[in-house]
C-alpha cells in the first residue's frame, strides 16, 4: 500500500510540475498575473508530493519490504537501520528520486525566498524549473520506477553494495546532488533573463547567492566522495580521475568560474553574456554528469545502471534542456556588453583570467573523460585515459590559476598597477619562497612539484593575510570574509595534495605474528588476526600495534570482511587520522598459518585535503549569506 502511495504521489507531482512549467511562462509572456501566481502553489505542492514519494520509499526500506524490487535488490534484513535509510538512494532508481526531491526542494526554497523578485522574472524562473522537473519526473516514472513490486516476494534482500555501507556514503550523494541540482537555479535565472530580455547587474545579484550555495554543496559532496574512496577502497587513494569523479568535477569547475564571473557581473555589470553562458553550462554539465553515470556510456565503478532505454531517455532530456537553452542563447544572444571598461591589471581582468584558466581546465577534463568514447564511437578502438594525462595537463593550468588567487582580491577594480601590487605583496612573496624550500626540506626531500605546490599554497595564505591586514579597522562584509576563508581553504587543499603526493610512504609486507615493519619513524607490529562478527558480515580482524617516533603507542584494527548476503569480500582499512598525517593499515591476502600480507601507509597531511574543502564550503556559506543579497531583493522590488 505504501509503495503504491509513493508511486501515485510521483504522478501527482508530475502533473503539478506540468502546471508549474507552462502556466507561469504563458502568464509572464502575456502579462497575466493570475497565471503567473500559479507557480507558487504548484511548486510547493510538488515538493509535498515528491517528499511523500521519497518518504514512502524510505519507509519500505526501513521496514524491509522485500516485495518492492528496489528494496529486495539493495537491502538486507541484517543491514543496520542507518544503511537501510541510505540504501534508499543507493540504487539508480532511488538516487534519481533523490535528484527529483532535491530539485523540488530548491524550487520551493526559491519560491519562498523570491517574493521580492519582479513577478515576471519569478514566474519565468519557476516555470523553467518546473519544466526541468517534468523531464526528470517523467524519467523516473517511465524508466526508473523505484516502487515496482516483485512477485514472488523473496525471503530476504540481496544487500546494499558493501562499498556503500560507510559513513561517507550517508551524506555524499545528497550533498553532491544538492550541488548538481542547485545549479538549476542559476540556469533558470539565466533562461528567465533570455526569455525576458532583461540582463543586468541586478540579474547577477539575484543569481549569485543561489549559485554560491549550490557550489558549497557540490564542494562538500566531492570532498565527501573523496574521503569515502580514501577509506573504503583499501589503498588510501583519494582521487582516481574516474569518469564519475570527473563528472562531478566538471560542473564544479564551471560553477567555480561562474561564482567568479558573477562577481564581475554584479559589481561592475560586465561579462554579462559570458556569465549567462556559464550559468547554462554549469547546469548542462550537471546533467551531462548524470547522463554519464546513469547510462553506463563510460566505464566506471559507479555505472551500475546499464540500460540503453534509460540512457536514451536522459540523452533526450539533455538534448531538449541543454540544446533548447543553447538555441535560446544563440537566438536571444545578449548584445555585446559595453566595451570593456577595465585595464590589463585590474580585478576584472584577473577574474577573466581565472575564468579562462578554469574553463581550459574544464575542457581538459572533459576531453580526457570523453576521449575513450570518441575513439570508440569512431571505430578507432578502446583506450583509457588515466592519471598521467590529467596530472600532466592540469598542473600547468592550475599553477598560474593558483598564483592569481592571491593577487585577485588585492587588486582594485577597473585599474591597478603592477608596481603597487609588487610593493604590497613583496613580503608575502618572500615568505612563500622561504616556505617553499623550508617545508619540503623538513619533509625529507626537495622535489620540483613539492616546491611549486608549497609555494603556491603559502602564497595564497599569505595573500589572504595581506588582504586581512590591509582591511584592519574597516567593517568587513560576510562576502569579504567568505572569499578570504574560501581562498585559505583552497590553499590548505593545495598544501595537503602537495605533501601527501610527494611524501607519502608505503610498505607492502608479509607479516607473521610478532613481525614488525618500520615506516616514517613509526613501528608497526602485527599481532595476528582473529574472527569477528559484525551485524551483516563476518571479518578477520587484524591487530597492529604502532609505536610513534615519540614513543606513544596505539592499536589499529584493519579488517577483511565477508558480507553475508552476497558473500562479497571487502577490505576495511584502519585509519588513524592526525593533523600531521594519517596512519593507514589494510589487510591484504591471507597467506596461510598466521601470516597475512599487510599494507601500511604513512600519509602526511592528507587530512588537510578535506579540512580545506570544509573551509572552502564555509567561505561559500559566509558569502552566500551576505546582507546585501537580502537587501538587494528588497531594493529590486521597490525599483
Amino acid at each position: 500500500m505504501i509503495p503504491e502511495l509513493g508511486h501515485f504521489s510521483l504522478i501527482v507531482a508530475l502533473l503539478l510540475a506540468l502546471v508549474q512549467g507552462t502556466l507561469p511562462l504563458v502568464g509572464a509572456q502575456t502579462g497575466n498575473a493570475s497565471l503567473m501566481a500559479v507557480a507558487r502553489p504548484a511548486a510547493l505542492g510538488q515538493l509535498a508530493f515528491v517528499a511523500l514519494a521519497f518518504a514512502s520509499l524510505a519507509y519500505s526500506f526501513l521496514t524491509n519490504d522485500f516485495s518492492v524490487r528496489n528494496v529486495a535488490q539493495n537491502s538486507f534484513s541484517q543491514l543496520p537501520p542507518v544503511y537501510r535509510l541510505t540504501a534508499t538512494w543507493g540504487s539508480h532508481e532511488g538516487s534519481m528520486l533523490l535528484w527529483v526531491l532535491m530539485l523540488a526542494g530548491w524550487t520551493a526554497a526559491l519560491t519562498v525566498l523570491s517574493r521580492r523578485l519582479p513577478a515576471e522574472i519569478r514566474a519565468r524562473t519557476l516555470g523553467v524549473l518546473g519544466l526541468v522537473s517534468v523531464g526528470f519526473l517523467a524519467f523516473v516514472i517511465a524508466t526508473s520506477n523505484p516502487f515496482e513490486r516483485l512477485l514472488p516476494v523473496p525471503a530476504d534482500g540481496r544487500d546494499l553494495n558493501p562499498l556503500l555501507q560507510d559513513a561517507g556514503m550517508v551524506l555524499h550523494p545528497p550533498m553532491l546532488y544538492m550541488g548538481y541540482v542547485g545549479f538549476s537555479v542559476a540556469f533558470a535565472f539565466a533562461l528567465a533573463a533570455l526569455l525576458g530580455g532583461q540582463l543586468d547587474a541586478a540579474w547577477a545579484r539575484w543569481a549569485r547567492p543561489w549559485t554560491t550555495l549550490a557550489w558549497v554543496f557540490l564542494t562538500v559532496g566531492i570532498a565527501l566522495g573523496s574521503w569515502w574512496a580514501y577509506r573504503e577502497l583499501g589503498w588510501g587513494g583519494w582521487w582516481f580521475w574516474d569518469p564519475t569523479e570527473n563528472a562531478s568535477l566538471m560542473p564544479w569547475l564551471a560553477g567555480t568560474a561562474l561564482v567568479h564571473s558573477l562577481a564581475v557581473a554584479e559589481r561592475r555589470g560586465q561579462l554579462l553574456a559570458w556569465t549567462l553562458f556559464l550559468s547554462i553550462a554549469a547546469f548542462a554539465l550537471s546533467l551531462l554528469g548524470t547522463f554519464l553515470i546513469r547510462s553506463g556510456v563510460l566505464s566506471s565503478v559507479h555505472a551500475f545502471a546499464n540500460d540503453p532505454a534509460r540512457g536514451l531517455f536522459i540523452l533526450g532530456l539533455l538534448a531538449v534542456v541543454v540544446g533548447g537553452s543553447l538555441l535560446l542563447y544563440a537566438w536571444r544572444f545578449p548584445r555585446s556588453d559595453e566595451p570593456a571598461a577595465f585595464g590589463w591589471v585590474s580585478r576584472e581582468s584577473f577574474l577573466l583570467a581565472n575564468n579562462a584558466l578554469l574553463v581550459a581546465a574544464l575542457a581538459t577534463v572533459m576531453l580526457g573523460t570523453l576521449y575513450p568514447l570518441f575513439l570508440d564511437a569512431l571505430g578507432f578502438g578502446k583506450v583509457s585515459v588515466g592519471p598521467p594525462y590529467f596530472d600532466a595537463v592540469l598542473v600547468p593550468l592550475f599553477a598560474p590559476l593558483l598564483f592569481l588567487v592571491a593577487l585577485g582580491p588585492l587588486t582594485p577594480w577597473r585599474q591597478g598597477s603592477v608596481a603597487d601590487l609588487a610593493v604590497r605583496t613583496r613580503w608575502a612573496f618572500a615568505g612563500a619562497l622561504v616556505l617553499a624550500v623550508a617545508v619540503p626540506l623538513a619533509q625529507g626531500g626537495v622535489h620540483l612539484l613539492a616546491v611549486l605546490g608549497v609555494f603556491l599554497a603559502a602564497w595564497i595564505l599569505l595573500g589572504v593575510l595581506v588582504g586581512l591586514a590591509e582591511a584592519r579597522g574597516r567593517r568587513l562584509s560576510r562576502g569579504f570574509w567568505g572569499m578570504q576563508v574560501a581562498h585559505a581553504g583552497l590553499a590548505v587543499v593545495v598544501l595537503g595534495i602537495t605533501l601527501v603526493s610527494n611524501y607519502q610512504a608505503e610498505r607492502d609486507v608479509r607479516m607473521n605474528v610478532g613481525d614488525h615493519v618500520d615506516l616514517a619513524g613509526f613501528r608497526f607490529v602485527f599481532k595476528g588476526a582473529t574472527g569477528h562478527a559484525g551485524p551483516n558480515y563476518v571479518a578477520d580482524r587484524g591487530t597492529v600495534e604502532v609505536t610513534a617516533p615519540d614513543g606513544t603507542a596505539l592499536t589499529l584494527h584493519p579488517e577483511k570482511r565477508k558480507y553475508n548476503a552476497a558473500g562479497v569480500g571487502m577490505t576495511e582499512a584502519a585509519v588513524r587520522s592526525g593533523v600531521l598525517g594519517d596512519l593507514y593499515v589494510s589487510l591484504g591476502e591471507y597467506l596461510g598459518g598466521q601470516a597475512w600480507s599487510v599494507r601500511v601507509y604513512y600519509k602526511p597531511f592528507v587530512g588537510w585535503l578535506w579540512a580545506g574543502g570544509a573551509l572552502m564550503a564555509l567561505g561559500g556559506l559566509l558569502a552566500a549569506s551576505d546582507r546585501r543579497y537580502r537587501r538587494a531583493t528588497a531594493a529590486a522590488a521597490d525599483a
Binding site: 553506463g296 556510456v297 563510460l298 538534448a319 544563440a330 570523453l370 568514447l373 607492502d508
Partner: protein, 172 residues
C-alpha cells in the same frame, strides 16, 4: 557566428553520446577469450639454451604479461606485478620486440616478478596472441584456456575487477 558555437559543439557531443549508448566500454573484445592459449616455443631469457611453451605452465592458472623494456607504461605496472608475484601469482613474461636486448639488464635492476620470460624478438608470438601494444596481460587457466585479457597497465583495481574473481573460482 559566435553565438551559435556553444550549440554546435553541444550537437556534436550529443551525436557521440548517442553512438556511445550502444557501445559497451567495459568489453574489450578479444576473440581469444575461452580459446586455448596459442602455442609458441621461445628461448627463455633467464636460462640461455632452454625454451618455453605455454603447455609447460599448465596445471595451475597463470598470467602471461606481454611487455618490453622500451615501454614506459610497463614500468608503471611493474610494482604491481612485483606485488602479485609476492602474493603467489605465477606470472610469465613475454618479452616482446626487444631488439635492443635490454630486458635482462633492466630486470636485474628493478626486480623480476616473472617465473621466466619468453623472448619474442620479432613479435611473431605476440601476433598469434593478438597483441596490439604493450603491456597486455592474459589470464590462462589450469587447462590452458585464456580466461581474461587486459590491455594497458594492470592495477589493483583492474586486477580485483577482471582477474581476481576468475582466479577465486579456480582456487589458485
Amino acid at each position: 557566428m559566435k553565438r551559435w558555437l556553444p550549440f554546435a559543439v553541444f550537437a556534436v557531443l550529443l551525436a557521440f553520446l548517442f553512438v556511445g549508448l550502444w557501445l559497451d566500454p567495459r568489453e574489450v573484445p578479444s576473440p581469444f577469450i575461452g580459446k586455448p592459449a596459442p602455442a609458441f616455443s621461445l628461448p627463455v631469457l633467464e636460462r640461455p639454451g632452454q625454451t618455453f611453451s605455454p603447455d609447460q605452465a599448465r596445471g595451475r592458472p597463470w598470467l602471461l604479461n606481454v611487455w618490453a623494456p622500451w615501454c614506459r607504461t610497463c614500468r608503471k605496472e611493474h610494482p604491481f606485478l612485483m606485488q602479485l608475484a609476492a602474493s603467489g601469482v605465477r606470472i610469465y613474461g613475454l618479452n616482446w620486440q626487444d631488439q635492443a636486448r635490454e630486458a635482462a639488464g633492466l630486470l636485474a635492476e628493478i626486480g623480476n616478478p616473472y617465473v621466466l620470460n619468453a623472448v619474442d624478438h620479432d613479435g611473431r608470438a605476440g601476433i598469434d596472441w593478438g597483441v596490439t601494444g604493450v603491456p597486455e596481460t592474459f589470464l590462462i587457466d589450469a587447462d590452458g584456456v585464456i580466461r581474461a585479457k587486459h590491455s594497458g597497465p594492470l592495477s589493483e583495481r583492474i586486477w580485483n575487477r577482471k582477474f581476481a574473481p576468475l582466479l577465486q573460482g579456480q582456487g589458485s
